[in-house]
Symmetry: C2
Subunit: 343 residues, 2 copies
């Protein structure tokens, strides 16, 4: 590995400077990405290993980030489960057969990930070959709650009314669904690691809609099931629970070697609550990249200062990079992180 | 005052049981409300004191809550500022002339509230008369950041990109705008108190989009300006910053006799960070009202237990009540709070 800063930081080892990558770094803010996206729809890009590999590598070349993250979508495992997934124009994912009854849950299949999503594993093998040891490759999945929220709501949601109502009114259906989803996600992440992912991240993007009690009762056991079972796979696991820093202690209990945090909390306060036996990832507000370069620099320095020179900080945004972000600002961010964190 | 539980709790005095009211309690989940809403559009209802008074009183009669809250909208002061506000069908507020330049800010007028929103003050006088001392009346406004976010974005927003970009790129425009908004909101709340509001709440509904640093730099001074200036008005002030419990200490620094919290944090953890010299309001997930009655009861008991028998707890939802909420569950909630908190 030519650049192993990211993996070292995941293991809380000393590094020459703080590693940085950006959530959704392979995305629409890059002209190189849009050139391909114009020719193919989103799902086709996900399902064509050569295209997925190409866009995965774009930010490595352009931004100089310290890790690649697989180009994919957290909902790709749905198809193999027998759930019909489409991406409507500008509307995000649409699921025509949302799951709400025990019969719906019973119909969900649990396939091997190489059978359900062979193109993902093929993309990983291809990316590893093309990266040729330049930087490590991160695989990823959604977390059980976040995936369940799409499956129950039938797409994205603002308030998770159906999801919460099912959870509270029919806990037996909820548990059966979460159990199946967790099994699928575990198989999916294990297969990614086997195919060559050198770290994995579990995204609990929407779990911030829950109270701490509901998280502990209805969600934590399933996240923990997946995260516990990954402990022996030999790669670092990042657990990112978005908008959930009020229940950080519970998120940490669920597991993960690295805890990802959003920008709503100061990183020093977050790390002291997480415990210094875990690495931490974060946490610049993604919209900071619309600010003037001097302010971006100032905010990078502030986060680096708060994180201190303690080993185990991976710099990232607090959420995915926005599609209208000026590329030059993303480049400036990566440079600033490296420059101001030089040991 | 026949029922002064709410005002006593605001002042952290002993009460016979925990007072409860619900954010957006005068709203679409009530058939009585919908019967009127069918005949008039939303703005007409806000601007007709008799209608505003009628819907303000509906939940007092139906739910048995311990306070009335004025039926109004946080954006009503915009018209007097020279900002054009409409409510599009199912789309919420639309502002055709969003403010983005220093010229735009310069054009904003600062009128006396009795001149800008006479109908609000008239509604307050009418409600006080009709309430006839049964329960106290709460007035309210948006907080400077939340109002600014609508004015800059031109309506509701998910990510506040324009708002944040202006804040960071043109702090002099931001400050000029926030200064004017703060002056307008202060006049608005003072006029409500003069007209008869016996407590006021400042809603910072969208400030949770900010990092703690940005809150302290760009927002707190303005919220504090308004809250400080209300100290001598002789009524309790509730400060509710939604989705902002990761920066609760800063919210408390901005001011308020009562701090409102959403459901993303345990109320005991929140109160210990706020300090017991403040009262606290919250914090049931509003979607709990879609759960079975036994679970609603259980969750009410849990919040009451966490709050303890310490004086100064006002029970509320962690956010506005959802328009599809079954009325009988809202009634059951109010009953449960009174029943299980009896001293």
């Amino acid at each position: 590995m030519q650049n192993d800063r990211f993996l070292k930081a995941c293991r809380r080892e000393q590094v020459d400077c703080t590693p940085v990558w950006l959530m959704r770094q392979a995305g629409r803010y890059m002209p190189e990405y849009m050139a391909i996206r114009k020719k193919y729809d989103f799902l086709t890009m996900c399902k064509t290993p050569e295209l997925a590999a190409e866009v995965t590598l774009q930010p490595i070349n352009r931004l100089g980030v310290d890790a690649a993250i697989l180009f994919a979508d957290i909902l790709l495992p749905l198809e193999g489960m027998g759930i019909d997934l489409k991406f409507a124009k500008n509307e995000g994912p649409v699921i025509s057969n949302p799951v709400r009854t025990i019969q719906d849950v019973e119909q969900i299949r649990i396939l091997e990930a190489e059978e359900a999503t062979p193109y993902v594993m093929e993309a990983i093998r291809l990316i590893r070959k093309e990266l040729d040891g330049r930087v490590p490759l991160i695989g990823f999945s959604g977390a059980p709650f976040t995936v369940a929220s799409y499956i129950i709501e039938g797409g994205g949601s603002k308030e998770y009314k159906n999801c919460k109502t099912l959870m509270w009114k029919a806990p037996e259906i909820w548990d059966a669904l979460m159990d199946k989803i967790s099994q699928v996600l575990l198989k999916y992440l294990k297969a990614q690691i086997k195919a060559g992912a050198q770290a994995v991240q579990m995204f609990d993007s929407w779990v911030g809609a829950l109270s701490p009690d509901d998280y502990e009762t209805y969600v934590m056991p399933y996240s923990r099931y997946v995260l516990d079972a990954l402990k022996d796979e030999g790669v670092p696991v990042i657990h990112f629970a978005n908008n959930a820093s009020t229940m950080l202690e519970s998120v940490v209990k669920a597991g993960g070697d690295v805890i990802g945090i959003d920008w709503r909390i100061n990183i020093d306060a977050a790390w002291s609550r997480i415990g210094y036996d875990k690495a931490i990832q974060g946490n610049l507000d993604p919209f900071t990249l619309f600010a003037p370069p001097e302010l971006i620099e100032e905010k990078v320095k502030r986060i680096l200062e708060m994180a201190g020179n303690r080993p185990g900080h991976i710099f990232n945004l607090g959420h995915g990079i926005n599609k209208e972000t000026p590329v030059e600002n993303a480049i400036a961010l990566v440079e600033a992180v490296h420059k101001y964190s030089k040991r």
